[in-house]
Amino acid sequence: MGLTLAEKILSRRAGREVRAGELVVVEVDQVMVVDSIAGSFFKRLKQLEATPRFPEKVTIVIDHVAPAANVEVAKAQKEIREWGQQIGCRVFDVGRGICHQVLIEEGLALPGGIVLGSDSHSTTYGAVACFGTGMGATDIALAAASGRTWLRVPETVKVTFRGQLAPSATAKDAALEMVRLLTADGATYMSIEIHLVDGAESLTLSQRLTLANLTVEAGAKCGLVVPSGEILQMYDLPDWLSPDPDAVYAREVEIDLSNLTPRVAVPFYVDNVEEVEKVRGKKVDQVFVGTCTNGRLDDLHQVAEILKGRKVAPGVRLLIIPASSQVLEQATADGTLLTLLQAGATLGTPGCGPCMGRHQGVLAPGEVCVSTSNRNFRGRMGAADAEIYLASPRVAAATAVAGYITTPEALEEVAHA
């Protein structure tokens, strides 16, 4: 019997064939630390009386509250800079962007590798078939100190996306549909192995990042996209990096992209996924485009395409936060930003923005927000009863123009009615 992609990666690293259920201790390629937990990380290292074994394998990204929103945060970020310099590890400072986007752009998360991140959306690295997984500060500190971590080799759920994306659908809709089908704990402790077939191979790196990003919302340990399409040109792929045809899966599901419709995750759970039609007309106060899920150049392009020649509805705040400085530069160079700003959008510093309710667009009691992010939990973006609807950049843009939840297609119909 063959091996899944997760089993392949962990077997390679363990130096022996390992299968689902076994325990392995493996060396890791990168340990990624974000600003919001750096204080705990330093404290744990002190408790261990240790410093990073391989400083070049530790990367700190200042992104969760960047720039600093108050003195506590400013102190924490100052400590990061000083510590980074002293230890000699990489520090990406305010404005460079969101950790996951930055690690991909910098080539620090690579096919066949293992990257631990102190952020649950570290599954994102799976877009390039890198075993990325999120852990807490203690595990992260232990990994930095030892260069290793322990993992239970996960069972695998195979998710096959078939066909070309329907014109009104996006990778976000595909990802939300996956979470709906699997449910929020459908892949707990497991690897989600994503196969793109019959035209779906054309999904870009950016779209694959969106898919892998959302796998953790089904509880997954990692979300590995089997390399295909442009990934084959962009990366040096080890020849062993593919699942065996006779690999054993705990479960297999298929999603047909060709008849997919726009989706939205309704408060307060990510697997509470409906067709946009179901909630069309819901008035919104804020629209947020950004995050590690949907803050990339192609996302901004989609928003600009819809906003071109239109204005954001009165009383609606449209916040746009590019995922990285690179995205911001490109969107500036190609004119996308001007289109967004002319429509009435507000721009934020590349980083996580208001995704976890700390700054740059916190919600008041009773407010409604459409967000391109990945979590709509109660109180996530501010007040406990504020409502977050998760959607694609297309739906977010159309909603910003209409002032209520809608699709670009419905917006066109209204315009021509």
């Binding site: 325990l23 201790v25 600003d35 919001s36 937990i37 750096a38 204080g39 705990s40 744990r44 408790q47 261990l48 009386e49 509250v65 929103a69 108050n70 506590e72 945060v73 924490a76 991140g117 102190s118 952020d119 649950s120 570290s122 999120g134 852990m135 807490g136 500060a137 203690t138 595990d139 500190a141 232990l142 100190a145 030892s146 290793r148 971590t149 322990w150 929020a184 704990d185 707990t188 402790y189 509880g219 340990k221 759970y269 976890m356 309710g357 700390r358 916190v362 979590r375 939990f377 109660r378 109180g379 996530r380 501010g382 406990a384």
Partner: protein
């Protein structure tokens, strides 16, 4: 006597500690006072050390923020009984030395406010004359829990629980 604080399914880490109350936002000395601030504001002010958290399915889903369970530990939490756990949260509990019992039928039997006694080592919970047996976590994790937390384990042995020695 310790009491039960009962919660439902899918209690996420934003419920346990909202992001805006992270230690790096409000300071190391205060963050735990915001535990369950949105979902159950009476929790943190009334929680007594040793009280037990009883939760449903997929407990602790969401963010990897270890300071969520750390806030509970700071309040004096030593054990959670749940129907099931999200992956990162489960690791965080073990790493912090909080015992994660998985016992769906016990969760169903317990009510909010029940007065209980927990024998952590033997995994025995008593409510009046009733006794519930709680299955412990896997052996390799118990090794770490026995040392207090995985940090102490690693400091003492220089390896991970279950890791082969000499390599």
């Amino acid at each position: 006597m310790p009491r039960v604080w009962k919660f439902g399914d899918a209690i996420n880490t934003d419920d346990i500690l909202p992001g805006k109350y992270a230690p790096f936002m409000v300071g190391e000395d205060r963050f735990h006072t915001y535990a369950f601030a949105h979902l159950r504001p009476d929790f943190a002010p009334n929680y007594q050390p040793g009280d037990i958290l009883v939760c449903g399915k997929n407990t602790g889903l969401g963010s990897s923020r270890e300071y969520a369970p750390e806030a509970l530990r700071k309040l004096g939490l030593k054990a959670i009984i749940a129907k099931s756990y999200a992956r990162i949260f489960y690791r965080n509990l073990v790493n912090l030395g909080i015992m994660p019992f998985e016992a769906p039928e016990v969760v169903d039997a317990l009510q909010d406010g029940d007065e209980v006694e927990l024998d952590l080592e033997r995994g025995i919970l008593r409510r009046g004359a009733e006794t519930f047996l709680l299955k412990p976590p896997p052996a390799f994790l118990l090794e770490a829990l026995k040392e207090g937390s995985i940090l102490e384990y690693y400091r003492k042995y220089g390896r991970f629980p279950g890791e082969r020695t000499g390599g």
